[in-house]
């Protein structure tokens, strides 16, 4: 369960100026819910996602995820929180270009020193699910856009997160790949994982498996 209470986020620009990305946001996402954040570029969608994933701290207000006040956690604890609970699919994938697909997918789990047998098993399942079995050892920068996105999704799922976050997932894809992504999302819905998508792509607007759509304009929920 995710809750944002009176959250305001301001970014400093230059010495004295600041940009208000979010103004007094209140948001509630239930367990197992799939939520779409709609809004034009610069409306604050990505900022909300960063706050939920504890990549940022709000200027005022609270962010509570699964009972934890993540906005108040110390740096090392937010990282642990992300490792255990969040699967983030970034807009530009943020893969490490010089590593192979397999190595990129294991990255989130490296510090927790998982069991090799379990890990290999999990990797096999994920890569088969995303039809990437033959691309396991290919260096990521040599993969196509669609393949890179699937690797990014696999990385987000490797740790079985309870919250999956996707930031403009179809921004760099053509229609065919966008539809493929939507199919993958459909399969992820299982009533236990919350999925939050931020997008201004109209493809998402009329999907039936999305439980709720939230409009965001100029840092405010309309």
């Amino acid at each position: 369960m995710i809750e944002l209470k009176n959250v305001t986020k301001e970014f400093k620009v230059g010495a004295n100026d600041k940009v208000v990305a979010l103004k007094d946001i209140n948001l509630h996402v239930k367990e197992g819910e799939i939520v779409l954040l709609k809004g034009p570029s610069g409306s604050g969608k990505s900022t909300i996602l960063s706050l939920i994933a504890a990549l940022n701290k709000p200027t005022s207000g609270e962010v509570i995820v699964d009972g934890k006040r993540v906005s108040k956690l110390a740096d090392n604890f937010t990282s642990l929180f992300r490792r255990e609970n969040i699967g983030f699919i970034f807009q530009r994938y943020n893969l490490i270009p010089t590593l192979s697909a397999k190595e990129n997918v294991i990255v989130p789990l490296i510090p927790s020193n998982p069991d090799s047998a379990w890990l290999n098993d999990r990797l096999k399942k994920l890569f088969t699910n995303f039809s990437l079995q033959t691309k396991m050892d290919v260096i990521v920068k040599n993969l196509s856009g669609g393949e890179q996105q699937r690797v990014a999704i696999a990385r987000a799922l490797i740790n079985n997160p309870s919250i999956i976050i996707a930031d403009e997932p179809t921004a760099n894809l053509d229609k065919k790949l966008s539809l493929e992504f939507i199919e993958i999302l459909k399969k992820l819905k299982n009533g236990k994982n919350s999925i939050i998508i931020a997008s201004h792509d109209p493809l998402f607007f009329d999907l039936d498996f999305i439980d709720r759509q939230i409009d965001i304009h100029n840092g405010e929920i309309s």
Binding site: S50, N76, S79, R83, L95, I106, V107, L109, I110, N113
Partner: protein, 395 residues
């Protein structure tokens, strides 16, 4: 989560090293070269010192030289009795030795005249020489030479004997009775040992003079006292004790000047350039990577651990490789180019068979001056980046 060693993290570190291959290879080579040069020079100087130390005890307790107008001049033998009269002096041995310049080859031989070619010393010479003709030695007409001398003479067509040129122009023919063993090369290479009588002939030194005196003292503790007494007795002498020789050996290489200063300055400069480059910040690629790692759930500790492994592996492998190469270079190959710095350009090719000497402190110093500093220079900027919000970094 198991408490065993995290092989995934270690794998990741090693992969990271090879991913930024060219830069890391360059750092590896520069490090290795620096440490190789430094440690080779240190090995050589430590070995020379250790060789000197092994023979220190065999040196005379006191050597007395006579100085006239600042120059060393010959000492009258009449002084022997007065020196013997000093309490504590067991023996006073007048010596005849000096340098003979062999013009054809442009080299100096050290000639030492001794009186002990009698039968009782046969075992002594058996120990020191490979094969020699003892009878020829006894007859006062031959000499024992070091291997370097033998070679030079052979190159100048002197096979079995040599003609010394006297001060008055006459010649002294001396047969070569034997060559000193290869094991004593570092001490005997340019030395010629012959009967004192012959030495006087060659140098033109009168029968009643000696080059210097060598004293044997009964009780070593008394040496400084006796030295003071000798100086008081003969103010024109310079008295050199074994202790002073030992101190002189320790200061063989002046670290404040010459070769060593040049070497250290260049090494330090190169090394600190690398450190400065590392410590001045992380490249944008590496910054982005740290941001990604943080975003997917790596804590600052994990990131620093990974950077530590990277830096440690590079610097440790460089250090160990350099050390290994250096030992091989100095002790197995006899330091081909570097030895010319210590040997000079004499035509008499000295040996460079140095004994193995490992001074743990010196290498600990080199290790702690390089490896931890490099590791710190790598970790600190990474820590700065890792402490920032992941979001900022990834942009």
């Amino acid at each position: 989560m198991k408490s065993r060693f995290n092989t995934f993290l270690f794998d990741f570190s090693i992969l990271s090293i090879f991913r930024r291959g060219s830069k890391n290879i360059f750092i590896f080579f520069v490090f290795t070269l620096l440490i190789f040069l430094l440690s080779s020079v240190l090995f050589i100087s430590n070995s020379i010192k250790s060789e000197l130390d092994t023979t220190l005890n065999a040196l005379p307790d006191i050597t007395v030289q006579r100085l006239q107008a600042g120059r060393a001049v010959n000492m009258p033998l009449s002084r022997v009795n007065k020196l013997l009269a000093i309490q504590g002096v067991k023996a006073v041995v007048p010596r005849v030795w000096g340098y003979y310049y062999f013009a054809n080859a442009g080299v100096n031989f050290s000639i030492v005249g001794i009186d002990s070619f009698e039968d009782q010393y046969r075992d002594l010479y058996t120990k020191l020489c490979d094969k020699f003709d003892f009878d020829a030695l006894k007859k006062n007409r031959s000499m024992l030479v070091g291997s370097g001398v033998k070679k030079i003479l052979q190159n100048n067509f002197y096979g079995k004997y040599f003609n010394f040129i006297k001060p008055d122009g006459g010649l002294v023919k001396v047969k070569i009775a034997g060559v000193f063993k290869g094991d004593t090369k570092l001490e005997s290479n340019d030395v010629i040992v012959l009967p004192a009588k012959k030495a006087r002939e060659i140098f033109g030194i009168d029968k009643d003079k000696a080059v210097d005196f060598v004293l044997r003292i009964a009780n070593p503790v008394e040496i400084p006292n006796i030295a003071a007494k000798i100086t008081a007795l003969y103010p024109d002498t310079r008295v050199i004790t074994k202790e002073e020789l030992s101190i002189s050996y320790q200061n063989l290489f002046d670290y404040k000047g010459g070769l060593f200063l040049a070497l250290f300055v260049i090494s330090a400069f190169t090394f600190f350039m690398i450190i400065y480059d590392k410590a001045s910040g992380v490249s944008s690629d590496e910054k982005r990577e740290i941001g990604i790692l943080k975003a997917v759930g790596w804590t600052i500790d994990d990131i620093l651990k990974e950077k530590f492994y990277e830096a440690f592996i590079i610097s440790f492998v460089s250090f160990v490789t350099a050390l290994c190469l250096s030992i091989f270079y100095v002790y197995f190959l006899n330091a081909p180019l570097l030895k010319n710095v210590f040997i000079g350009y004499s035509n008499l090719k000295p040996a460079f068979d140095l004994p193995f000497s490992f001074d743990f402190q010196t290498f600990a110093i080199i290790f702690f001056l390089t490896v931890p500093i490099y590791i710190a220079a790598t970790i600190i900027p990474s820590w700065r980046v890792a402490s920032m919000d992941a979001d900022e970094v990834m942009r």
